[in-house]
């Protein structure tokens, strides 16, 4: 018998799946919503307990066989400090996104279909957990499929024309990504004969040493990176993202931008470190490509965001830029870069949902206008949303004491002594300026009192019920803001855990 704590990751995956299945038969939308939040909270708690156990002292990682058969015959998951930390944050943010966006959610999704929406949320969380924990590439693929379908449904749930167009685009790009990943997986299986990661890694090391099957190996690594890149909106493949994330209901935007993209990135990190090995990735030139795409994403994502006047689409383009940062860290091809990327995953997973929730609330009190111009002065109509938006924006720009500053600092220090040091540092600087160029006006806009006639007009068109105090939103926003500050001020212990986790990956 194992220690009970080692069963928790498996329990959390199963709890999410069972809750997802149950949601589909619940009649009342509100009950399903409570159940989903409950299961997210339970998952966060179980992950925290796991983290406490595996992060103690020097930390340790364990393999949990999913069934009776040990690797390489049966499925398995691998749990270490990094995985436990990531899942804890993912589950917590998911619960907060569901809580904070609840008013919009009940408004946008019909009561009858809300239970199905909750099914999708539970399954998204289950797939995020499985993608983070998996020790088997094919299990990774299966949960990529689940994540694809559930994520498309999250966009589609708000049943309007532009949303359906965005969903179809998202679906096609997402399926393309899955397809590329699957082809890469088949190639890899054909030249190594394994699916479980530890055996794969040994086989790949042998192949790399002997130089046999070099071409299929490179192509398969490229296809897998490209596939996951398409799904996580790596720069040239990001065009589906603004429509999908910008148009969906608030909760969906928060979940998609903050979490779903990260599941694929975590799988990519695991592939790079555990399966192929960083040295081989650097040798095959894969990291250089990822680095270049990341750098371009940082610039072009921000430039597109500057040109955007729809606040949620602006935030979505900003996600492209932030994902660019994460890929840049991976592209450095060093453990320090990976650590910085993992920290940025946490920062972005707290900041972006906060921004989306606040943007949703600000536009709700302005008659559901999304244009920045019509949001003028909206911060005074809901102070918590105004402060939350400001905190999120400052963190994204990278002001000290906020989470975003620390990750930029660590990206910069990771890039020292790497090949493209000058280029990386200059891009970080340029990207920071560009970030400020769209976040500062947005923040100013929401705090500036508009001309009286415009204000009068907005008050007329907005629903008075929306102006009421939104308790759920305020709770979620306060917790997320606290998260941003914790990441920005008490970052040492978190980075220690990540460092330990990357070593044990």
């Amino acid at each position: 018998m194992r220690p009970m704590v080692e069963n928790y990751p498996f329990f959390s995956i199963f709890a999410c799946m069972v809750a997802g299945i149950l949601c589909a038969v619940i009649k009342k939308g509100k009950t399903a919503w409570y159940l989903t939040i409950g299961v997210c909270a339970l998952t966060a708690l179980l992950s925290a307990l796991t983290l406490a156990a595996v992060g103690e002292g020097d930390g340790y990682a364990f393999v949990y066989t999913m069934g009776r058969f040990a690797a390489p015959y049966g499925n398995a998951i691998r749990v270490g400090p990094l995985q436990a930390l990531l899942t804890m944050v993912f589950a917590g943010v998911m619960a907060l996104a569901l809580t904070g966006g609840s008013r919009d959610l009940f408004h946008d999704v019909q009561e009858k279909k809300l239970p199905l929406y909750c099914t999708m949320c539970c399954m998204t969380l289950a797939s995020l957990l499985a993608l983070t924990y998996t020790n088997d590439v094919f299990t990774g693929y299966v949960f990529i499929e689940i994540s694809t379908i559930a994520a498309c449904a999250l966009v589609m749930a708000k049943d309007t024309g532009p949303n359906l167009i965005a969903t179809i685009r998202y679906l096609f790009m997402s399926l393309l990504g899955s397809g590329l990943f699957l082809i890469g997986l088949t190639f890899l299986n054909a030249v190594t004969g394994y699916l479980l990661m530890p055996s794969l890694s040994t086989a790949i090391a042998d192949l790399a040493a002997s130089g046999q099957y070099h071409v299929p190996l490179t192509v398969s690594a490229g296809l897998m990176v490209a596939g996951l890149g398409v799904k996580s909106a790596m720069f040239p493949f990001h065009l589906w993202l603004p429509g999908a994330h910008g148009g969906a209901t608030t909760t969906s935007s928060a979940i998609l931008s903050g979490l779903v993209l990260k599941g694929y990135i975590v799988l990519m990190i695991v592939l790079m470190v555990r399966v192929f090995g960083l040295a081989l990735m650097v040798e095959m030139g894969m990291t250089t490509v990822v680095l270049l795409f990341g750098l371009m994403g940082m610039i072009f994502g921000s430039v597109s965001a500057i040109r955007e006047h729809h606040v949620k689409r602006m935030l979505a383009y900003s996600s492209v830029a932030q994902i660019g940062y994460i890929f840049m860290g991976l592209g450095l091809g060093s453990p320090a870069g990976i650590v910085a990327s993992c920290f940025h995953i946490l920062v972005h997973a707290t900041c972006k949902p906060l921004l989306f929730l606040c943007a949703g609330r600000l536009s709700a009190v302005s008659g559901h206008h999304r244009s920045l111009k019509n949001l003028r002065g909206s911060a005074y109509r809901d102070i918590a949303a105004g402060i939350g938006f400001t905190v999120g924006a400052l963190s994204m720009i990278g002001i000290p004491l906020f989470g975003g500053f620390v990750s930029k600092l660590y990206f910069a220090s990771a890039s020292l002594n790497s090949n493209g040091m000058v280029m990386v540092l200059l891009t970080i600087a340029l990207s920071t300026v560009l970030n400020a160029l769209y976040y500062v006006p947005a923040v100013l806009a929401i705090w500036i009192t508009p001309p009286p006639e415009l204000q009068q007009h907005i008050l007329e068109i907005s629903d008075p019920r929306e102006a009421e105090f939104d308790r759920n939103f305020t709770i979620a926003a306060v917790i997320l803001m606290a998260g941003v500050f914790v990441l920005g001020i008490f970052y040492h212990p978190i980075l220690d855990v990540i460092q330990m986790g990357v070593q044990l990956l």
Binding site: F69, G193, L372
Partner: protein, 299 residues
């Protein structure tokens, strides 16, 4: 910044930028000025957005064929190049013919009790993946329900009237030939489905194939006797219950199995057949659900 008049000074422009007036051409505001202070729907920019999207789509279609052919060509070249250097198909010395495949073929019956190695692999060795796949099917139907399920949004009185008319026509002039053929065939189809489901362990088949046959039988029944006849004994509530029960049963049994297996505890229960049945139910419900949701928007 394009709508900033040229004659403004730098200071004025800076002020307007700080005021948030920097957007290119604000479509929403433009419309707002035209229909001054009229009651409006909560999301006014949707139509413009749709129009923009349509315009962008048209522009996209113009360059699309060339780009698509080029990208596909490059991808095909890369894949062919990789395949040419890969181990030849079916050679004995290939990397895939390693101890894993050997183990599956030799020990499946001993370790899992299934004569059919494929069933053993799907349900025991890599059962977690199969559970994931069943969830994919479950989610797919849920998605279709979310999109096509009848609600105030996507159905109006006209649609309901049309469906009602079709039902009446079907009732008044049933297709006798189809009904006779179906009456003869359906019992055998169901019987065969059960056979494939239950015999999955020892012969080719199992949950996925058996479930598909079961679902096809249901579809044939609905086509020949009408939706009303099916929903008399297979209503939406029963459908939901069966679908959920199937997947819950699978998840429950498999969760127990994983827990016992991972903790090294001895589990005496042997439930390959139950899992096969559960998968079968999920698959049958998926097949039937797709058909009826696409046809009528309800179960």
């Amino acid at each position: 910044m394009s709508n900033t008049p040229e004659n403004k000074t730098l200071t004025e422009r800076l002020v307007s930028w700080v005021n948030g007036e920097r957007e290119p051409k604000d479509q929403t505001l433009f419309v707002m000025e035209k229909r001054h202070r009229q009651p409006r729907r909560p999301q006014p920019s949707d139509e413009e957005h749709e129009e923009q999207e349509r315009h962008r789509f048209r522009r996209f279609l113009r360059g699309f064929p060339v780009a698509a052919v080029m990208i596909c060509g490059v991808l095909v070249a890369v894949l062919v190049w990789a395949v040419m250097t890969m181990p030849a198909f079916g050679e004995a010395g290939n990397p895939i013919n390693n101890e894993v495949a050997e183990h599956y073929l030799e020990y499946t019956e001993e370790e899992t009790g299934a004569t059919n190695a494929v069933t053993g692999m799907i349900l025991s060795y890599r059962g977690f993946d199969t559970l994931g796949e069943s969830c994919v099917l479950f989610l797919a139907v849920s998605c279709v329900m979310l999109l096509l399920g009848r609600d105030a949004h996507n159905t109006d009185e006209h649609d309901l009237l049309k469906i009602g008319q079709e039902d009446t026509i079907e009732k008044q002039a049933p297709d006798r030939i189809l009904q006779q053929v179906a009456r003869t065939l359906i019992p055998f189809i169901f019987l065969f489905a059960l056979y494939v489901l239950i015999n999955g362990e020892v012969s080719p088949g199992g949950g996925f194939s058996g479930g598909t046959i079961l679902g096809c039988g249901l579809i044939l029944y609905t086509v020949s006797y009408g939706h009303a006849a099916t929903s008399r004994w297979f209503s939406a509530a029963i459908y939901a219950a069966v679908r959920t029960f199937g997947l819950l049963l699978y998840a429950g049994l498999y969760g127990y199995y994983i827990f016992m297996g991972a903790n090294g505890l001895e589990s005496t229960v042997h439930f390959s057949m139950a899992i096969d049945l559960a998968v079968g139910l999920v698959v049958a419900c998926t097949v039937y659900g797709f058909y009826t949701l696409f046809q009528r928007g309800e179960i």
